[in-house]
């Protein structure tokens, strides 16, 4: 059955809103996606009917809520095609997933049995020039703590990684390679398997930031071959406050914990503690229970729509939008200008008009886009621009909305050129 975008739109109550007297055109899904009623209901239903703390209580509610929370882990494991549910760790968001790894790696310095994760001066951590700040700053900090060097694979003029640099930058000195699957600023989809393959060849850990990929394409961690894959719930039509870190079980089993506290322990005495097995070792304290459960619902929702169908729908939108936008005089797409190996996120600049003015004038027409450096400031520096305007699409985006964007941008130009 063909992808029925009008039916999908009915699942999202916010899409009936008007902004400034006109229907909302929400083109900011890469920032955060809107929520289907099912997800909103799942969170409320848990609080209304099943709520208690997880994993601690023997009473009925405690058992129901634990079942729901662990059920969400099963759903995420299936969504990722993980070998085991114990490879799925709930975090607050992608930022916490990446920081968890960076801090666990630095904790390896003083953790018995974790020698293989230790970083020292002379070791190198590699990212790419297109990372958002969440996949730059934790690694810069880890480099500072351990004395390791921080390096990156540069961008070419088209918004893709310099292919030849993958081999040059990832070397025998590299211990960690952390990179984005799909760029939030450029839309570029990276050659994940090629980078993971290179990391493996030199014995480095490979970490894939799939925050912008998870909502748009099928994610199969076994097929990707990486050691760790992370994403966030709120971009996947789920609630805020919940993210995921998936890791190969044999690695998680050796990795030191990040946060210490309740539920991550095996035994505690006043002298010392031992730690639980993954995933609970990495989930200290009371977790985001209702949010994790509702993320499970969101995962069911997109799986029901079909990740392949979502990808095809968004590819059509992207190709159409790239063509229509690039017909506008003075508009420059920052990132790949054709719908090949790129996702449904289009950044652009308009000659003589600052992105914040573009976004403000689009908002007056009910069109929500993002303007700024998209928490990926090095990308703007690379292309010599202060910021971009970014339109990003989701399951509910229509071709009519792309047309509205194009007309909206033309109106912005009229205002500025009057």
């Amino acid at each position: 059955m063909a992808f029925d975008v009008e039916a999908v739109r009915k699942d999202f109550p916010i899409l009936t809103r008007e902004i400034n007297g006109v229907p909302l055109v929400y083109l900011d899904s890469a920032n955060s996606a809107q929520k289907p009623q099912l997800v909103i209901d799942a969170e409320a239903d848990l609080y209304a009917h099943h709520y208690a703390n997880v994993a601690r209580a023997v009473h009925t509610l405690g058992s129901e809520v634990t079942h729901a929370y662990e059920g969400a882990r099963d759903k995420v494991a299936a969504f990722l095609n993980a070998r085991s549910r114990d490879e799925v760790i709930f975090t607050r968001n992608i930022t916490e997933s990446l920081n968890l790894l960076a801090y666990s790696l630095s904790n390896a310095t003083s953790f018995p049995g974790a020698e293989r994760f230790q970083l020292r001066p002379g070791d190198e951590i590699v990212v790419t020039e297109m990372e958002h700040h969440s996949n730059i700053v934790p690694w810069q900090q880890l480099a500072q703590r351990t004395g390791a060097s921080f390096r990156w694979i540069p961008l070419d003029d088209e918004g893709r990684l310099v292919e030849s640099a993958i081999e040059e930058v990832i070397t025998e000195r590299t211990k960690v390679v952390s990179f984005v699957y799909q760029s939030n600023a450029l839309g570029t989809i990276n050659p994940v398997k090629r980078i993971v393959g290179r990391a493996k060849a030199v014995g480095a850990l490979s970490i894939v930031d799939a925050a912008q990929a998870a909502p748009h394409l099928p994610l199969d961690v076994q097929d990707l071959g990486a050691d760790f894959v992370a994403f966030t719930g709120h971009k996947l039509y789920g609630p805020t406050g919940v993210g995921v870190l998936w890791g190969r079980y044999d690695l998680l089993a050796q990795l030191p914990p990040f946060l210490g506290g309740g539920e991550m322990i095996e035994t505690v005495t006043m002298q010392q503690s031992t730690f639980a097995a993954p995933p609970h070792r990495f989930e200290a304290g009371t977790p985001m229970i209702a949010q994790a459960v509702a993320l499970g619902t969101a995962v069911d929702y997109v799986t029901g729509l079909g990740m392949n169908d979502i990808r095809d729908h968004e590819k059509t939108l992207t190709a159409y939008a790239l063509e229509a936008l690039q017909r506008i005089p003075g508009l420059r797409v920052i990132g790949p200008n054709v719908a090949v190996d790129r996702g449904a996120t289009i950044s652009f600049t308009l000659k003589g008009i600052h992105p914040h003015d573009v976004a403000q004038l689009l908002d007056e027409q009910g069109i929500a886009v993002r303007a700024g450096h998209h928490c990926a400031r090095p990308v703007c520096l690379r292309y010599g621009i202060p910021a971009t305007t970014r339109a990003s699409f989701g399951v509910y985006t229509t071709l009519d909305e792309v047309d509205a964007l194009v007309r909206g941008v033309e109106k912005v130009q009229e205002v500025f050129h009057r």
């Binding site: 914040h356 202060p386 910021a387």
Partner: protein, 157 residues
């Protein structure tokens, strides 16, 4: 185009954005400051020279959204040649206007003094953009302070 859009992007603002006044950095100056607005990534570098208690010269360079650049241009036009005390009083008045959330009640006298800066009244309805409009004005007052006003000149006058 809705009314509120017109009220934010007044023709005066767009004119100043396209043809900014006092744009360019003078070679002689008492103080130079660099201010940044992280929301929009707006930047302004401003140089200023004081003489006999007045703003003798002021020039600036910058990049950013139309609101920040036009407001800096309007500010320059207003304060050059004015006694420093008046320039600071104008800045306070403008700050008040910007913090009014679209509810400023300006007297005829205020309007006379603020001249083109009145055009930014519409911006005060958009809290996210108020910092843009204030960027140049804040740079001016900090340049005045850096030039020693308030420590030496004011004490002498």
């Amino acid at each position: 185009m809705t009314l509120s859009m017109d009220s934010m992007y007044q023709q005066i603002i767009l004119d100043h954005y396209k043809r900014p006044h006092h744009h360019g950095l003078p070679e002689q100056f008492d103080a130079e400051v660099h201010h940044v607005n992280p929301t929009c990534g707006d930047e302004v570098t401003l140089r200023l020279r004081l003489a006999d208690g007045t703003v003798a010269d002021l020039g600036w360079d910058g990049e950013g959204c139309s609101i920040s650049q036009a407001s800096t241009s309007v500010m320059s036009e207003l304060v050059v040649g004015k006694p420093v005390a008046e320039a600071i009083a104008l800045q306070r008045k403008f700050l008040e206007l910007m913090q009014s959330r679209g509810k400023a009640e300006l007297s005829d006298d205020d309007e006379d003094q603020l001249e083109d800066a009145i055009a930014f009244e519409g911006v005060s309805k958009y809290p996210a953009r108020v910092k843009c409009a204030l960027l140049g004005w804040m740079a001016m007052t900090s340049a005045v302070a850096e030039a020693g006003w308030g420590t030496t000149q004011e004490a002498r006058s």
